[in-house]
């Protein structure tokens, strides 16, 4: 059973008790991928690559793993899942991240 | 259907429950239907306790206490001196098996005769003191006496059941005691 198949009917509200996994168990890992929590955001981080020193603190501290680490240790934001909490802005030692209105 | 109901009396710690338990086991081994159940209360050493056995040639469905027994067995020598306190409900013509010296059973025999009971006695206390060098073991000896007078199971079956339950010195002692009591039990009132 794929995560999408489990999650989608619930999100859409189109299911009966038979469509749900037994006893509220979640039979596959990573079903949270199907929940695009990015829509919760009211503010979003913007990275100033001119200031970024590639310390990766934002990548460590992001509670939703929405900071993506690239090959060269630079980072970008996965806006599908970023909830806009602003932790990255707070931990950035060089003020390279700023939270902006959506 | 023949149903024999037996009520056991003794004191907490004397093995009344084990006596009744072993009787049911011996009886079932011989192909009968039997049921043993204890009456548990606050378990205090020395307090009077009861246990029950039913034996039948057919399956036993009933699950309640025994109020009108066919047989009453009293394994304690002091309680055996006043069986009128424990034989309540015993059927007319029923059997009493007491831990009492045959030489000292006149008073009890008179009472048994008057009430229409059959009386069987064995001095299990004396036998136990002699054979064990001072210990008082009554349950298995009294069971053995009961088997002899009522032919509820053979001595061989009892010995088999004892061997399942006990081992070593305890088994030896119980075997010795049960053989002597089997021989020495006397029917005073037939």
């Amino acid at each position: 059973m794929s995560a999408k198949k489990i999650v989608e009917p619930v999100i859409k509200g189109q299911f009966t008790y038979k469509d749900l996994p037994i006893a509220a168990m979640i039979p596959v890992p990573a079903t949270s991928l199907e929940y695009k929590t990015g829509v919760w955001r009211t503010r979003q981080p913007k990275i100033d690559y001119g200031k970024c020193i590639k310390c990766l603190l934002c990548w460590v501290f992001c509670p939703d793993a929405a900071i993506k680490r690239l090959e060269d240790d630079s980072v970008n934001v996965d806006y599908e899942y970023c909830k806009g909490c602003g932790v990255c802005e707070t931990v950035c030692p060089v003020k390279a991240i700023s939270m902006e209105e959506v | 259907m023949v149903l024999i109901e037996i009520r056991w009396h003794g004191r907490g710690g004397q093995g009344v429950v084990t006596g009744s338990n072993l009787l049911a086991r011996a009886s079932i081994i011989e192909g009968n239907y039997a049921q043993h159940f204890p009456e548990f209360g606050p378990e205090r050493a020395g307090a009077p306790v009861r246990s029950y056995t039913r034996i039948s040639d057919e399956p036993i469905d009933i699950h309640c206490g025994i109020y009108e027994p066919d047989i009453v067995v009293i394994i304690d020598p002091v309680m055996s001196k006043t069986p009128e306190d424990y034989a309540y409900g015993l059927k007319k013509g029923g059997d009493l098996v007491l831990n009492l010296s045959p030489d000292n059973s006149e008073k009890v025999a008179k009472w048994a005769r008057e009430n229409g009971y059959r009386l069987h006695v064995v001095d299990a206390r004396k036998i136990s003191l002699e054979e064990t060098g001072g210990r008082e073991i009554y349950n298995v000896p009294m069971l053995s006496a009961l088997l002899r007078v009522k032919k509820l199971a053979s001595l061989e079956t009892l010995e088999k059941v004892l061997a399942e339950r006990f081992s070593g010195k305890v088994l030896e002692m119980n075997l010795k005691l049960s053989r002597r009591c089997y021989e020495e039990v006397k029917t005073i009132v037939g």
């Binding site: 008790y17 006893a23 509220a24 596959v28 | 081994i29 204890p38 548990f40 699950h63 309640c64």
Partner: protein
Amino acid sequence: MARQAQERIAIMGDEAIALAVKQSNVDVIAAYPITPQTIIVERLSEYVANGELDAAFIQAESEHSALSICVGASLAGARVFTSTASQGLALMHEIVYATSSMRVPMVMAIANRSLNAPLNIHCEHGDVMPERDSGWVHLFATNVQEAYDLTFIAFKLSEHPDVQLPVSVNLDAFILTHSVEPLTPISDEDASKFLPPRQPLYSIDFDSPATFGTMALPDTYMEFKYQLKEAAEKAGQVYPEVAGEYARISGRRYWYFNSYMADDADAVVLVLGSTYGTLKVAARRLREGGLKVGVVGLTMFRPFPEKQLVELLKNAKSLIVMDRAYSYGGLGGPLYMEVLAMLYRNGLRIPVMNVVYGLGGRDFRLDEAEAVLKIALDGARRGRFDEHVRWWGVRA
């Protein structure tokens, strides 16, 4: 100790349960001792210690923990057993609901004993009744042989793919737990055939991670509970198939209830547990005198065998329901209330009376069984009873 099949042995109720559990090849036993089920877990711990049973025996620090351990072990795919009574079951209460709602197969023997206070160690069904609505399957034994047989049936039913629910096997405190009775065991080979190693539908697997016991919010919660309702009812539907399979290896056939001459009886008495046997003997005596009485002892209390009971009782002219438990402030005992509802919604308008008896182990004698049957007959003749509930023998 490989025993020959069909050989009759002498065994205590608690020991019989332990023997059945051993022959069921359980993997994990977690328990906390409480009178009068202690002998069950004592024997099982001996079996494990002696190497006769290859299982993990875990003595927990409380019943709450014992059942929690069982839940985890069952989710890991193990065949699991526990046992308790009275306060022990009350302490498990929270996990009892988690077990059924998480659809965790296991078997628990309950040595039905009264609940505090006053302190009492004797027989009453008041300990299991608070678990009535949990989704567990509740089976009741009327003698030692049934306690043994129902343990196998319980495992099979519990693990049935359409059921996946925990099952309790109830046996009366002392009256059955500490009684020695004859038992015809099944052979180890037959036991293994009837209960091959468990094939869990889902289990904890590091290569294929899953989450168990999650939260469900109002948008899905009722659907999960509806699954439980369906599974509990399904347990009733597959029960005859499971019991039938057991009958083929044991020669002993189990049904939703035991009944003695209830089909054509004018007056029927319905009961749970060992009192069925005493009532049966009393009914046999009255039948010899031409009195048309019958007795029913419910084997399956949950799920409630409504259809089969209605079919059995449809021609009865009166009914007495006996409860060894009570709903204080309610309409009567739990079995009585259930039966009243069943009769009403099936259009059976027969007079019904509730006899509440034997609380805290008070003996229910053969002459009392006869008296209850005669009261039932009187109700059948007059078409009514004079009271709804009678506390039998109480000095009121």
